[in-house]
Subunit: 206 residues, 2 copies
């Protein structure tokens, strides 16, 4: 390629990027609501729903926000996450209420009782004016199995403070939850190493 062509390509690139920046700046300027506690939902069959919620939690903790976590159904799991988050205990109120996945316990009454207790804790954290981010991990699962009344749960989440962000995770988010959410991300599984006969890897999957 000649120097002239190099220059022409660089110029085209610069013009394209300048146009994109102008479009982005205009989009930002069009926003008028400056403060809103977001209801964020991570759903879908793919991986990363809880992991991304914990990434958001970590970012909030980096801002030294007081935060809360209620885990609805993953109680029995010993993950590196809890050990890592122990370093932020001065900002973080962590509550694991579930009894593990429901196909481990095989006891609907016990799972339901655990979900009710977890939801009471979630409501309590919502009323704490210091807390700025609350992760309700696997709440969608509890709603899907009808362990909690969806209308009441969603109405309570809608009534959150203006300065409280809430992240709800779990596959099969209900239509009511999606309707109430400000931001919904669906995680889809495109490819998985289990299909290639590879076992779950420590530190990655547990």
């Amino acid at each position: 390629m000649t120097g002239v062509q190099d220059g022409a390509e660089a110029l085209r690139h610069k013009q394209k990027m300048a146009k994109r920046k102008a479009a982005q700046d205009a989009e930002v300027a069009a926003k008028t609501i400056t403060q809103r506690g977001l209801l964020i939902v991570h759903t879908g069959k793919g991986k990363g729903k809880s992991t991304a919620a914990f990434g958001l939690l970590l970012r909030a903790l980096g801002h030294e926000w007081p935060c809360g976590v209620v885990q609805f159904v993953k109680g029995a799991w010993d993950t590196g996450e809890r050990r890592a988050f122990a370093r932020f205990s001065e900002f973080l109120s962590w509550h694991t209420m579930g009894e593990g996945f429901t196909w481990e316990t095989q006891d609907r009454a016990r799972d339901m009782a655990a979900a009710v207790t977890a939801w009471a804790k979630a409501r309590e954290l919502m009323t704490d004016p210091k807390i700025k981010l609350l992760v309700l991990d696997e709440l969608n699962i509890a709603l899907r199995y009808d362990y909690l009344p969806v209308a009441e749960v969603v109405a309570t989440l809608r009534a959150r403070r203006l300065d409280l962000h809430i992240v709800v995770t779990g596959r099969n988010a209900t239509p009511e939850m999606l309707e109430a959410a400000d931001l919904v991300t669906e995680m889809s599984l495109v490819k998985h190493h289990f299909a290639a006969g590879v076992k779950a890897q420590e530190g990655i999957e547990f």
Copy 2:
């Protein structure tokens, strides 16, 4: 509902869950490859690609694994993540090489040079036998803009050690990258508060 119906429902639930557990146990037993450094790709237009990668990083740090991060194009951003990860500095080698999003710099030659430097750092970290997880944040963007030779990059990633997990993020993952990956998750945007006129929220988006 009568006590008899309650009992019948509880039994049905228990049987269903027992069946699911048996299926899951059989699936786990069928896995034969016990150790493999996974190549994990987070792509798609939705949010959470980098956030979920940082969640995986956090989990690995909870296991006290030495880890590395190379950020390819988000250099200028001041996020809570970096401040939060500062608490794990004894295990974490963090390198931010990019100059910010490319439509901010509008300088292809400079972006390309930054990508080349970042890739050299990534290869260096890959050869460090202590490192067990490496996050190559927004590498897909650098490949998409042809800042780096995709064939060489993917061949190098394929040649990773058996005990090194690599997480690659960024939209528009190339077919070569998807082919080489063990685990691919696509994040799709279902709903976004920008459409409702809400500005980017501190601690959530930056």
